[in-house]
Symmetry: C2
Subunit: 358 residues, 2 copies
């Protein structure tokens, strides 16, 4: 008997593949996170974010927390998008209240030439152990999503040492020494392929590539330095495992202008941030891909009445038929009252069935 | 004799109005700035950024500095986008190495209800004096651009106290108390109309509205909270002064997805950041507006060969005919070698004439 049919709830996987579903599935980027008191409690026990992420027991515990609270249609591995460069030896660390940073960003040409593709079984074993353990704990309830940062996004952190800047160092490299940047991106792409395939082998039933900083590039530079490497990854992924398709989602934050080309790289699903109308996006991609998104996470700071209205607007804009995975347009903020997340999930489930009647 | 004909160089104004020109005019956002050693010297004498901006003599001095170095086709008033809320009493200040902040951000409903539209002649006299003095100093060489922040962008700083955040406070207000936010935006729009018209009266020959944070909004929220107020401003502007049209440019950073609706509000020109291909943008707006942009400022950190190639790509993508004002897609970074800015300006002038032959 197939594994998909063993899943109690395969709505998420079906929607990714644009197969019919009874309702629109929903999960939330960063759903295991600081907005949940139980997460903060586990994190306190673990001592730090990396203490959580690098310990498969803790990672399993926090991955399951939002699923115990909310009727979510998917679980996502608790980890960080930057595990790959950490495995390359750059020294991932977190300072309180700030994003991830690297202790040893790439500053010299020899450091770039010395980069090697990490063996996941060796350097990222803690992630694969977590995937196996979470999969076991989920016990066929909902599918498990594995993920990684995109080659460009990893490179941003590797060169700048941190994210969210104006990316002047890496852009200077892109325009003055594109050979060096392409070398980093090629290594990153090979590393992410091995890493995601190892996650799939360990039990991830869908994978997602987070291109958090692709939107900082010009249209031409995006194609050259971000999109073509995501395309390489998609081409190198194990697309069938345990007798089932493993759907792949790519998400470039700020990539709405480039939607047609993103939809063309062979991924099953394209993630959308909240700046684009999902109905317009659907018109632009046609039946090439499914779409994931795209509620502004700030809306979860309002109240259930507003949340229900805004969820309804997105569902209506997407319209009838399958191929929509409801999500936020970016990670849930830590200031979100958990009851507002519950209101969103409930609204998606109750309001969406009308769009799925045959 | 008309004033336009008195200008030695009216290429910029002609391009804004899509009238024929011999070449593509160019100026740079933040062209009077820290990348210039002479600016840093004047700023040292002035003691601070606000010491510069609030003193018409200093403001005139730094406005003219880039024009003494480079054959730019326009001057822009040296000032800040946030002078209006400062005139409302919110207390604009700058900390070293950080963006503008307000001492007294709007936290309480009564503070919002108490906001009043400042009288430019009284509270913003230093700006109007600077405009008059700069205009006199320019002596008809090139046109002078006046500017303000957009109502939404001003409101972001007024509510958050600073820029560049995830805008959670103001978005919570947008979704929970839209009445309060609309009240702020209405006051801001009225204030910006009076302020820009006073700049025009004082001698500004073109005006620009900077919507730095419109791109943080969802497509629907952008229309409601940013675009409709810019439309009100455009409708309220003095469009003719001294017998000439005063062209108006609107620039929403990150607004590429909404280009058609931005081009529809009655402005003469739409500013573009570097994420959009300018040729695509031109196709989308047709002959509704001229376009300003859109080189990634990071490219000015490379070298003249790369800069010339990238300038050439943008000119080629825009193609033949008038209606293009060359600029960066955002302010010039302080790390830019001045000789690279010179290389860009020279490349625009020398490479563009081929696109303007009749």
């Amino acid at each position: 008997m197939s594994q998909l049919s063993h899943l109690e709830n395969d709505t998420f996987l079906r929607a990714l593949l644009r197969q019919p579903t009874d309702y629109t599935p929903v999960w939330m980027m960063r759903q295991a996170g600081r907005y949940l008191p139980e997460y903060r409690e586990t994190r306190k026990r673990a001592g730090s974010f990396l203490g959580l992420a690098k310990n498969p027991d803790y990672a399993t515990e926090v991955t399951l927390q939002p699923l115990a609270r909310f009727p979510l249609d998917a679980a996502i591995l608790f980890s960080d998008i930057l595990t790959v460069p950490d495995a390359m030896g750059l020294g991932l660390y977190f300072e309180d209240g700030e994003g991830p940073k690297f202790e040893r960003p790439l500053r010299e040409e020899w450091e770039i030439r010395d980069l090697t593709v990490p063996n996941p079984a060796e350097h990222l074993k803690y992630v694969l152990d977590a995937v196996k353990q979470i999969r076991k704990a989920l016990d066929g309830s909902v599918p498990l999503i594995g993920f990684s940062g995109s080659p460009w996004t990893l490179a941003c952190y590797m060169v700048e040492g941190k994210g969210g800047t104006d990316f002047l160092n890496i852009k200077k490299m892109a325009y003055e020494r594109p050979d060096l940047l392409h070398h980093i991106l090629e290594i990153n792409a090979q590393a992410v392929i091995l890493y995601l395939n190892a996650q799939i082998e360990a039990g991830a039933q869908a994978v997602m590539i987070f291109d958090s900083w692709g939107g900082a590039l010009s249209h031409a530079a995006y194609q050259e330095f971000s999109l073509q490497y995501m395309q390489k990854i998609v081409a190198g992924l194990t697309r069938r495992h345990e007798g089932h398709i493993v759907p792949c989602t790519v998400f470039t934050k700020g990539g709405g202008l480039w939607l047609e080309s993103i939809a063309n790289i062979g991924a099953d699903c394209v993630g959308l941030d909240w700046t684009i109308d999902i109905g317009e996006a659907r018109k632009r991609v046609g039946d090439k891909v499914s779409l994931q998104g795209n509620l502004d996470p700030a809306i979860l700071l309002s109240n259930p009445t507003v949340i229900e209205r805004e969820v309804g607007n997105i569902l209506q804009s997407y319209g009838h038929g399958s191929g929509h995975v409801f999500n936020l347009g970016h990670g849930i903020t830590q200031l979100t009252p958990p009851e507002n997340a519950a209101a969103m999930i409930s609204a998606v489930h109750s309001l969406s069935s009308q769009y799925h009647r045959q």
